[in-house]
Symmetry: C2
Subunit: 301 residues, 2 copies
């Protein structure tokens, strides 16, 4: 049975200015996802500011989410770190607390070679025993997985899935077919970059790792179901309705927009970690206008 399938919903991790996780806010976000019956929760993803939180606070976030979900759905936890030993410890923590899998990015400072990344990922898989989703996100980590490296890593025991960067609608079918041919059967191929994900799901990807899904899961579930059921037109229609939201995601980054939305919805009060700044007033007004302009019910169950 494939671990990562359908909607993996990525909530933010609300935290105070000192980087201490707001457990009440996180519970409220997780509870929405349990209620919506998403397929998995993607905790401590990029929007979940994993790179800006200490090991201790990451552990607290996992414990909080595990306690809120009570085993009702799998939690995939971001375990990326600059140092290999640190990533190993984070993966061990996640496994000990009960995460179903780790999401392993390869953030880089000194640019890394493919061999270095192969050894790094293999060490985390081998030393933690945690199932791993490869997290290919060059726009934040500045390391891009080549097809050859994905093929090598997909043979390593415990590496079960990949979260790819955004693929354009035009490229998605070809890239998906090429990657499928390189990995074992049962290896899950997933997409991200919310504004381009619908076409990749229509092309047959297994999972959508979604920032929007971390706050508004229902619309993402509807798109995924339409794509699965061969109703590409319906998936595209729903995706097109979200165009004003995608425009703001692209312009301000999904992270900054989602933080503003969480506050507007009254779920909790949280700012992104400095140096990231909350959206300025004019941008917040645009977010509010966008929300008001969406077709009634679009984001509802």
């Amino acid at each position: 049975m494939m671990l990562a399938r359908g909607l993996s919903a990525f909530p933010v991790t609300p935290a105070d200015a000192a980087g201490r996780v707001d457990a009440i806010g996180l519970r409220a976000l997780v509870a929405r996802l349990v209620e919506a019956r998403v397929d998995s929760i993607g905790l401590l993803g990029s929007t979940g500011i994993y790179m800006y939180l200490s090991r201790e606070e990451r552990r607290r976030a996992i414990e909080t989410a595990m306690d809120e979900t009570k085993g009702r759905l799998p939690i995939i936890v971001g375990v990326g770190a600059l140092r290999t030993d640190e990533a190993v410890r984070l993966a061990q923590d996640a496994k000990a607390i009960g995460a179903a899998a780790g999401l392993l990015s390869v953030p880089s400072y000194t640019p890394l070679t493919e061999d270095e990344v192969f050894e790094h990922v293999s060490a985390v898989a081998g030393e933690s025993g945690l199932a791993l989703v490869l997290y290919d996100n060059p726009s934040t980590t500045h390391f891009a997985f080549t097809p050859g490296l994905v093929a090598r890593l997909a043979q390593v025991p415990g590496i079960v899935a990949i979260k790819n960067p955004a693929w354009t609608a035009q490229d998605a079918p070809g890239l998906l077919a090429r990657q499928r041919a390189l990995v074992p059967a049962g290896f899950s191929i997933g997409c991200s970059g919310d504004w381009l994900a619908s076409e990749t799901m229509i092309a047959g990807a297994d999972a959508w790792y979604s920032v929007l899904g971390g706050l508004f899961p229902h619309i993402c579930l509807k798109i995924i179901r339409a794509a699965r059921d061969g109703q590409a037109d319906e998936a595209r229609r729903l995706d097109a309705e979200l165009a004003p939201l995608w425009a703001l995601f692209r312009h301000y980054s999904s992270l900054r927009v989602i933080y503003a939305l969480i506050e507007m919805l009254g779920i909790c009060r949280a700012d992104p970690p400095r140096p990231l700044l909350p959206l300025a007033d004019e941008a917040r007004r645009q977010v509010g206008d966008m929300l008001a302009s969406l077709p009634p019910g679009l984001l509802d169950p």
Copy 2:
């Protein structure tokens, strides 16, 4: 009097596999620089693996270097971090221990806006009271300072210098003149990217922040003196003699090559922090061959 002038020599920070600094190895590296009378030491730069060391170990490295130099030359300390509060604390530590200045990179995970970087750098300067050298190194931090941002930051009290990324020989005179026009008199403009630094020094930059200078300071001092004294031909001749070394720096990265050289010279035993791997045997052989091929005495006082 300009803080950053001449050769700022950047040693590696030898550390064990767990990230604990080897104080004896670091002392040996620093002692060479004191002996060579470099103009300043650039501790915990990129080659000094600041991003891979804990706050505690960074503090230990500064204390060790301060104790070895005993005030005979200024130490500029890398204080970059992903979080603003962490960078503030690192700068406060450096100041408390006695560093002359901080070298402030802006490493990014979530891509940053210019306003975010302005606020970040201003906070570190204001809350630490440490003089700061802006560290513009897009190849590792993935944030590039625009001329407009440099002009704004150069007005902030306590920001006294910039370490620029490598400029090509062709671009250096124009970029230097443009930057000079944007910053106050007395603001120090420095260069890096060892293989391109000579031309920028010939063009009139104030300081060379050098990886090679952290291990072989004499050749760098000779090039700087020739450039200063209007002997551009001599500076270029010396630079050209180093071509085989520059080729390896470019191919394997200066960090990986310097680590191999430190071991070959018997100064100390240290590997870069994982995921970075030491050079493989074939590459080490190339480094050894290169060293043997340099003109006798080139690297000597």
